[in-house]
């Protein structure tokens, strides 16, 4: 991100100091974050408390990173309209912040009572792993790919846009779906209902998740097809709309 965003927009990051702060903030607080997966488990409470503390702290570090990227975007936001790689990256960045914001709450021992072992956590992990890091990688690859093959642009604007919207809407819908499912499951378990109830209650959510998952896979196929066509297209493709 710190490499590609300035390269694509052809301007430096808004603040170097802030990026250092973000980097070392994350480097310091992230290692303890691993333990936040083990809240209420039989490990020492001091480890659990420090995980909660470190995870909330990461939210602040991530916010500083986000401020930096948003300020860098200032004056160039136009580009998001037609530059798909850049849009992938900024979508990912916003999802990153949403995930970390959510994390700052559900890492607390109170939230954990309900949501641990439920689909809520699965939804959270999808948003960070696919919504953020996945979209970033897709954006970076789409930026590099045509250049690797001496083309000016991707083969098809339509495929490129289609893939983006399917993936973006897909992963966000899945996040909402699983978050809701997690609450249903969590409260159902606390209520000591027969176990099979929680399975039955979850089924509508799981069906919806399947539909959305198919959407995302379709998006990925479109993305891959676009890559294939770009690599094999004979003449050099030229951009109809130049990225600045």
């Amino acid at each position: 991100m710190y490499y590609f965003v300035p390269v694509i927009m052809k301007k430096p990051m808004w603040s170097h100091g802030l990026s250092l702060l973000g980097f070392w903030g994350l480097a310091f607080f992230y290692p303890m974050n691993g333990v936040h997966h083990f809240l209420w488990s039989p490990i020492p409470m001091f480890a659990q408390y420090s995980a909660v503390f470190a995870t909330v702290a990461v939210e602040f570090a991530v916010t500083s990173v986000l401020i930096n990227f948003m300020m860098t975007l200032r004056g160039s936001a136009e580009q998001l309209k037609y530059n798909v790689p850049l849009r992938y990256m900024y979508t990912g960045a916003i999802f990153y912040w949403i995930t970390c914001f959510q994390c700052a709450f559900h890492v607390t021992l109170t939230f954990q009572k309900v949501i641990h072992f439920t689909d809520w956590v699965t939804g959270h992990a999808h948003l960070i792993m696919f919504g953020t890091f996945g979209l970033w990688v897709l954006g970076m690859a789409e930026y590099v790919w045509p250049r690797l093959f001496g083309k000016e642009t991707m083969y098809s604007k339509g495929l490129s846009e289609g893939a983006y919207w399917l993936l973006m809407i897909g992963v966000f819908a899945m996040f909402f779906d699983l978050t809701a499912a997690g609450l249903v499951q969590g409260f159902d378990w606390i209520g000591l209902n027969p176990w099979i109830d929680s399975v039955n209650f979850s089924k509508p959510f799981w069906y919806f998740r399947s539909v959305v998952g198919i959407m995302m896979i379709t998006g990925l196929f479109m993305y891959a097809l676009n890559f294939y066509k770009t690599a094999t297209a004979r003449a050099g493709l030229t951009a109809e709309l130049r990225e600045t």
């Binding site: 170097h16 100091g17 250092l20 702060l21 980097f23 070392w24 480097a27 310091f28 607080f29 992230y30 290692p31 303890m32 691993g34 333990v35 997966h37 083990f38 209420w40 488990s41 039989p42 490990i43 020492p44 480890a47 420090s50 470190a54 954990q112 009572k113 309900v114 641990h116 072992f117 439920t118 689909d119 956590v121 699965t122 499951q185 969590g186 378990w189 606390i190 000591l192 176990w195 099979i196 399975v199 039955n200």
Partner: protein
Amino acid sequence: MGKMERFSFVALVAGIIFFLFADFISWALPMFVLKDIPKKSVEDLAAEAVAKNTTAWSDFNKLARYYPDTFKKLCEYTEAYSGATEVIKDCKPNEKTFAKALRIGHRWYIAEGCWNCHSQMVRPVSNETLRFGIPGVSNTVSYPSEFQNELQAPVLWGTKRIGPDLIREAAVHDVGWHVAHLYNPQSTSPGSNMPGYPWFFEKDKNGNIVPNVRGLALLTYVMWLGSWEVKPPEPFRIETAEK
């Protein structure tokens, strides 16, 4: 600009130190915490179960009695994947065969991905002791030392519950239920979305469907879970071994 550079340098040095410090607490402290809890081998666990005459030990005896042919095969069975390399001559339910079954069962629990749907940890919140324990029989929250053994490496706490927690499973169902359930979960639990595992079963010489070696081992392992916590009321305890 000069001020900015000084800030960067301070952030760099402080950052490296912070990073090393964070790294230190996240791996060194757990080591200090665990050093006083001895790590038990599968053989230790088996010996303990036999000595205390736990439900796991009696369930294993029942399995051996119900499925004698499979049990015989268990003694001869070897498998590099689960580290069961020894052919046991003295083919009776004893510490050795019990340990062997636990070892194989544990590995196949992992290989089949049971941990994708089942956790192995009772938390002190959310009524979990009520749900996963039988009051007066097994209602304890998970505690560190019960995980300090070979059958919890890798840790099988799990991340997602589709099915119920299994760490107190010993208190819940009997052998017959488990056999039927593993073959076809819908037969005992209508509406269950747990898949059946017919490849843990085979036809015996009378054409009956019986657990195969891995199935027997897996069932032994599942019924062992939590058996160290179960304090069964007297009639529950059956006589073991012999004849």
